[in-house]
Symmetry: C2
Subunit: 144 residues, 2 copies
C-alpha cells in the first residue's frame, strides 16, 4: 500500500535536481529515507509532501533556515504556543508583504501587456511601481 518513490520521481515532482534532494538530506532538511537492497533511496508520500513544501517555499524566496524553522514547528508538536505564535506571525507578516508586492507587480505587468497590444512600450512604469520604498519600510518596521 505504502507508495514508494525513487529520487528521480521526487526531483520531477519537486521541480528540482536529484542532487538538490541529496543536499537537503545532507543538511538535515529531509530525513534519511530507507534504502533498497542495492542502496538506492526509497521515499514515501510524507517525504514527497515535505519536499513539496520546501520547494514551494524556496521558489517563493524563503531561506532554508527559515524553512527549517517552520518545519521544526510541525515536526515537534511539543513546542510552546508562544514559540509557534511568534514564528508563525513573523512568517505571516512576510508572506503578506510578498503578496502585496506581487500584486503590484501583477498590476504593472498587465498594464504593460495591455498597452503593448496598442503599439509602443514607450512609458513602462514597472520600475516606479515596484521601487515603492514604502513597502520596504513597512516590512522592516511592521505596524504592530
Amino acid at each position: 500500500m505504502a507508495e514508494r518513490y525513487s529520487i528521480g520521481q521526487m526531483a520531477r515532482i519537486g521541480n528540482c535536481k536529484v542532487q538538490t534532494i541529496r543536499y537537503y538530506e545532507q543538511i538535515g532538511l529531509l530525513p534519511e529515507p530507507e534504502r533498497s537492497a542495492g542502496n538506492q533511496r526509497i521515499y514515501n508520500r510524507a517525504h514527497m509532501n515535505r519536499l513539496g513544501f520546501i520547494r514551494h517555499s524556496r521558489e517563493l524566496g524563503f531561506s532554508l533556515d527559515r524553512i527549517k524553522e517552520i518545519l521544526a514547528l510541525t515536526d515537534d508538536p511539543s513546542h510552546s504556543c508562544e514559540t509557534v505564535d511568534q514564528i508563525a506571525r513573523r512568517h505571516l507578516l512576510e508572506v503578506e508583504s510578498r503578496i502585496k508586492r506581487l500584486q503590484s507587480m501583477r498590476k504593472e505587468l498587465k498594464r504593460m501587456i495591455d498597452r503593448c497590444s496598442g503599439n509602443k512600450v514607450a512609458d513602462c512604469r514597472i520600475i516606479e511601481a515596484l521601487s515603492n520604498h514604502q513597502l520596504c519600510l513597512s516590512e522592516r518596521h511592521p505596524p504592530e
Copy 2:
C-alpha cells in the same frame, strides 16, 4: 535639484549591503553612476528606483537574469511588441502562481496561529497545504 545619494543611502533603502550594489554594477544590472572628485559613487533617483525594483524582485524570488530581461524591456522602448508581450506574459504567469501559493501559505499560517491560541499544535497542515503538487504542475504546464 537633482537628488544625490551615496552608496550607503542606497543600501539602506534597498535593504541590502553596499557590496551588493557594487556587485550589481559589476554585472551590468545597475549603470555606472557619476563619481565625486574623490572617486565616490553618486546616485540619483533613477538609480534608486532601479535598485528598488531589483531588490523587491529578488526578495520575491526572481533570478538576476530574469530581472535583467524585464529591465531590458523598460530600458529600450524599441523592443517589438511580441518580445514585450512574450516576456511580460511569462513573468505574469509566474507572478500569479506565486500569489496563489503565498495565499495558501497565508491561510495555513492563520489557521496555525488561531489553533494555537487554543492550546496544542497537534495537527499542523501547513505542509499538506503547500506540497500541493497541482500547483507545481500547473506552473510547469501553464493553461494556455
